[in-house]
Each structure stands twice: as C-alpha cells, then as structure tokens.
Subunit: 385 residues, 2 copies
C-alpha cells in the first residue's frame, strides 16, 4: 500500500425526505445564491421544497447551468456573486450544476483570469465562497469530493481542477429525487460510477486487498442495483443503493493508498469537448479500449475482477481472465443500452484520433498510472474505438 493523507470535511445527509434539513445547514445571516440547471428541479418538486425550507433566508437564483458546465455561463454567476455580495452558494441539481458552483465559488475569490484555475488544476486557489448542495443525480460523486470539471465553449476545452477550498460544507441526497430522471441520465450516471471505480481499481497492483474488495464490491452492487432501477424507476431501495454507489465511487474512501489511472476520463473529456457527446457515453466508448491497450500493465487487476465480479474460473490464464473482464464490461454497458463505438455517435474515429492525440502532444501530456500512454498510444486507442 502506498502512503497517503486524507481529510474530507463534508457533512452528508442521506435519505428520503431530507431536503428540508437544508435550512439548518446555512446560517440565517448568509446571502445565498442558489444555482441550478435547465429547470428540472421545478418539475420534480425539488425547487419548491428548497424554497419552502429557506423561507427565512435571503435567496437569489442563478439558473441555466448546462451539462458540462461552461466557463462563459459560470462567469455570469461570478459577476452576480461579486455585485450582490453573496456569501453562500447552494447548488441544487446534478453534478454539472455542482461542479459549476464549485468553480463559481473559487473564481469569485480568485485574483487574475479565472480560466487559470483550470490551467493550473486548482493549485493556486487560496479561498472560495462556502458552498453546499442538494444533489439529485447519482453520477459524479462531486457531493463528497474536492474536484470539478469545467468546459470552455470558445476553445472547446474540458478541464478538471481540485482544491480543498471547494469541498461542500454539506450535501443532501434524497434518492426520491431520482425517480423522475430520464433513463438516459440514469444510465450515464451508472456508467460514470462504474468508470470512476475502475479508474481507481484497474491499475498495477500495490498490495491493497481491502481497497480491491471495496471497489469490486461496489461494482457488483452497482450491476445488480442498476438492473432494478431500470426495471422499476420508483424502486426507492435500489435508487438509494445506486446513489450510495455513486457517492462512494468518488469520495476517495475506496482507493486510499492505491495507484490511479484516469486516462479514460482524460480522453473522454476531449470527445465531449470536441463532439458534444455525453460524459457517460464517452466513458463507455473509451474504457475497454484503454484496457486493451494497457492489458499487460493492468493484467493482475483485470484478471482478479474476472473471478470476483464475473464468476470466471481462477484456473484460467490471467491473459484470458483479463479478456473476460474487457468483454463483460463492454457487454454490461451495452446491456444498459449504452453504445460503445464512436461511429454509433456519428464520430469519425480517424478524425477524432488525429485531433485528440495532437491536443495531448501540444500539451506535452502522457496519461495513465504509469504515464506511458503517449499521444501516439491515444491515437491507437481512439482508432480502436
């Protein structure tokens, strides 16, 4: 196990009918900017619940944060924060709204061009407006972590940043809010959770048996509960279990002391930035192709997964076991109705391979847990998609 440090201050409030608790989590003297997305919170009753709970607070609103939240949109909110002396941000919605709100929180206190926050990965953040959230989409895990991913329309870029200043003060999860999710978003969230876990698991082995048990246990649970949710979207227990998987998929608990990959996300972000496909779609396309490309590096973990998750016989050669995991994972995504080829999304793989490998070349960037996925390997991976 590698050495590690961990600290996470977020207060988590989880369960049915918990949204009204927001009123006790934000001091009455705070001037709140409530952020949200395209307006689904008005349809599913969440907006009404929040407004009723905060009837004694001062609440301004900023709606319209889009999926893959855009720098250009968020900077409008930063203006409001400064002009109105906002001192608390409340994100109500999915991970995009929350990631956007994390950026607003940091940008409002940042000296210099806020896009630098993304260019230096958050390293130069010295302060942020305190924020909390009511999270309504099980996917990003943003509700218990210190990261966010932001896109820039102008340059078609999608970049991540991290800072302990942007940990939510609290996160409220009421799984009932997910009953009304469109199936496409439910599936994207399941794929996102699966891939988050795999970015932390499917690497080289540094002797972390407990962490491996937890990550593979999450995958087993997710696969079982995903089926239940798709079969009956109003199954509270299954919705709660899927949400808990999503939160734990990226609250860092499972992989402390492990090696991490994240190349699928890095390549997937480029596909979303350039072609606008959903985050979950891009991950379903890329993950197994990265695994094929790096099979030797990831052999032990992929083989272990074949036995533990997919019930393969552990007498089989590791090479075969790894192939089983690659095939079964692709099959799982397809069983959710998520297509796994670039051409399924109308993307020309030759163009994508060229454009994206060039982008990584320009940034002088290699990917993966061994930093051995060069731009040339990215080209090969995308040509296989």
């Amino acid at each position: 196990m590698n050495n590690f440090e961990f600290q996470a201050p977020t207060k988590l409030i989880f369960g049915a009918d918990t949204i009204s608790k927001v009123k006790d989590e934000i001091p009455k003297d705070k001037k709140i900017l409530m952020t949200y997305g395209g307006g689904s919170i008005r349809k599913n009753g969440v907006y009404k619940q929040v407004m009723e709970a905060l009837s004694e607070h001062t609440v301004l609103e900023f709606g319209g944060i889009e999926p893959n939240p855009k720098f250009e949109t968020l900077m409008q909110a930063v203006e409001i924060v400064k002009k109105e002396n906002i001192d608390f941000l409340l994100s109500v919605g999915g991970g995009s709204t929350l990631d956007g709100t994390k950026f607003i929180a940091a940008a409002a206190k940042y000296e210099g061009d806020p896009w630098e926050i993304l260019l230096n990965g958050g390293a130069k953040i010295k302060d942020a407006i305190p924020l909390g959230d009511i999270i309504t989409l099980p996917a990003t895990g943003s509700e218990m972590n210190n990261g966010a991913v932001i896109s820039k329309l102008e340059t078609k870029e999608k970049l991540a940043f991290h800072s302990n200043f942007i940990y939510p003060k609290f996160s409220i999860i009421d799984p009932k809010t997910t009953f009304s999710l469109p199936e496409k978003q439910t599936v994207n969230g399941i794929v996102d959770t699966f891939v988050h876990t795999m970015e932390q698991y499917a690497t080289y082995d540094v002797n972390t048996p407990l962490q491996d048990e937890w990550m593979l246990g999450l995958i087993k649970t997710l696969m079982t509960e995903a089926k239940k949710v798709l079969h009956n979207p109003n199954d509270y227990e299954a919705r709660a279990n899927v949400f808990w998987c999503a939160t734990c998929g990226l609250n860092y608990w499972m992989s402390l002391g492990c090696v991490q990959d994240w190349s699928t996300h890095m390549i997937g972000h480029e596909l979303t930035a350039l072609y606008g496909i959903d985050h979950g779609e891009s991950l379903a396309v890329v993950l197994t192709r990265v695994w094929k490309n790096r099979k030797n590096d990831k052999m032990n973990k992929l083989a272990k997964m074949a036995v533990e998750v997919f019930g393969a016989n552990d007498f089989l050669p590791k090479n075969i076991l790894a192939d089983i995991t690659i095939k079964k994972t692709k099959k799982f995504f397809e069983s959710l109705g998520r297509r796994t080829k670039l051409s399924d999304y109308g993307i020309d793989k030759i163009e994508a391979a060229k454009l994206i490998s060039e982008r990584f070349k320009e940034r002088n960037c290699t990917l993966g847990e061994k930093s051995n996925i060069t731009p040339d390997e990215v080209y090969k991976i995308l040509m296989d998609c």
Copy 2:
C-alpha cells in the same frame, strides 16, 4: 437503507516513516500534553521520533495510562491540563491511551462531575481540548471516530461515550510501529476489528448491499492478512493492511444506513470490568454466543456471510448456513490462539451470568439491534460461554 447523517473531520496520515509529520499538525504556540501508556513507546523508538519532531514545541508528558484506561488515572491528567493551561493533547500509543486522552480532553472542559460524561454517554459535552494522535495498535479504530471507553476502578464499571468534540484533529499511523507488538496484542487487535465489523454487519437486513460487500470484504481481507502478520511480524504490507482494516472497522464508513448491534461489546465490557480479561478475549468469548442466542434475528446476514466469506454452498438452508458462520468464526478465533470459553480464563460462568445480568437489570438495560436481549437473555448467553 436507513436515513443517515455523517461528518468526520479527522485528518489521516498513513504510511511508513510518517511520524515526523506531527510537527506540522500542531501549531507552534500550543502547549502540548503528550499522553502515553506503559512505556513501550520508549522501547520501539516512537517516543524518540515524536520528541525530535516536536523539538520546537512545548511538550509536557503524562505516562502510565493503562489498558482499559481508568477514570482515576485520567483525572490526574485532567488536573495537570488545568494547572498547566494545556491547550493541545497528543496521544502516543494504542487505543487505550487514545480513549483515555479523549476523556481527558472532554473532562478538562466539563462543568460538574466528569464521571457524568460516561453516565450520559457524552451527550452533555459542550467543548473539549483539541487532540491528535500517533496510533500504534490496530484495534479500536478510535483514531477516526468520536467514541471512547473508560473504566472506573472503584465501582468496576466500563462505559462508553461519544461526542463530535473528541474527534482527533489528526491521526498518524505508521504500520512499522506494530512490528514489535507482542503477539497477544496483535491477536487482540485482530479480534477487536473482526467484532467491530460484525457488530455493524450481523443484524437484521435493511437492504444495504454495498455496505455488506464492504464489511464482508474487510473480514476476508483481515483473515488473510492476519495469518501473514502472525507468520512474519515484520511483513510491512500485511501490517499496513491489518491496520487499515482496523481503522476502517470503526470509522463508520462501512455501515452508514445500516442497523447496529453492539451487545457483544456491552457484555464483554462487563467481563473486563469485573474479571480484568482483555477486551479482545472477552469479545472472542461472547460474539458467537450472542449469535446463537439471536440466530433467528440475524439469520439472513449470517447465512450470507457463510457463502461470501466461508465459501459455503448457497443451496444449503439458511439455518445451516448461519451455523456454519458461527462455527467458522469460533474456529478463526481459535486459529489465532484466542480461547473462547469463560473457563479458559478462570471465570466461573454461573457467577458471571448472575452478576452481569443483574447489572443490566439494575440499569434497566436491554441490548441488541432489536433491544430484545433482556437481562434474562444475557444470563443465558453467559451460561453458554
């Protein structure tokens, strides 16, 4: 899954050669009281490492905190804290030293008789001296939780309390410090970790598949790594894995939203308070007898464990599967050299059953996740030990 709330502020620093980091975790202007136990930290080099790291800090010392830390001893430290205006406590040693330090922290700020803290379970704590720790024994999980267990010599009582004011500010774990542990303490820690996990797992089922995966995954890891540690006490990787199991065994992560039992601990505490047997010994005696007594209530979970952990065939009737878990668990404790009968420790079970069931009767106390272990059932459980 049940609704839950969770927040834990402790910063964890884990890994080889991390003790020197203590110097950056305590502000220089703090006056520190360093607490420790019987002096093993002088033999294993930890004392020297801490003192070197804190050479620019003001450090007073309070040694001699015993296993099952005694109220009478700890109150001497409370006097020193008050007289010397101590404003930071640093626990260096095992879970007993840390639990004792948590009590000192709360008692020094408590108005009224500090024993009340135990009588009301910590509910009336309004403040505490900040504390941190270097934890050298994988067992109690106290390094990431808000609980402590304190004994009173005078009345032969052993009681627990909880308060968010006593969460350590930081905990430093260097698994190397455990190389020199006597085998008896290593085994007690393994049993403690096993039983902590089971107090959270082996209850009635409220549909928590991820939590179950994590708890059973911990048990599987612990059983494998325990063997390695006993075979080679200087196996760093195995020591690190066992320590991580112990910490996660009671940092609350695994069982959020679950139902919990804790009757084995409650009965075990009485055995320790009355007869002085080790905590780990008392748990190894009591756990499987509680399970036999409450087999119907715990049937689903015990049966699931037989399949997942002990490789039993899931076509067997649940009743048989539950028996397999009970027998295999007892066998595991015995494989560690831990005896599982009261008579093995020179305790007369008839006397113990009478004394302890009367104590619970006096306190008007029923135990277990269904509060259905009455004093009469405690009598039966102990007569079976």
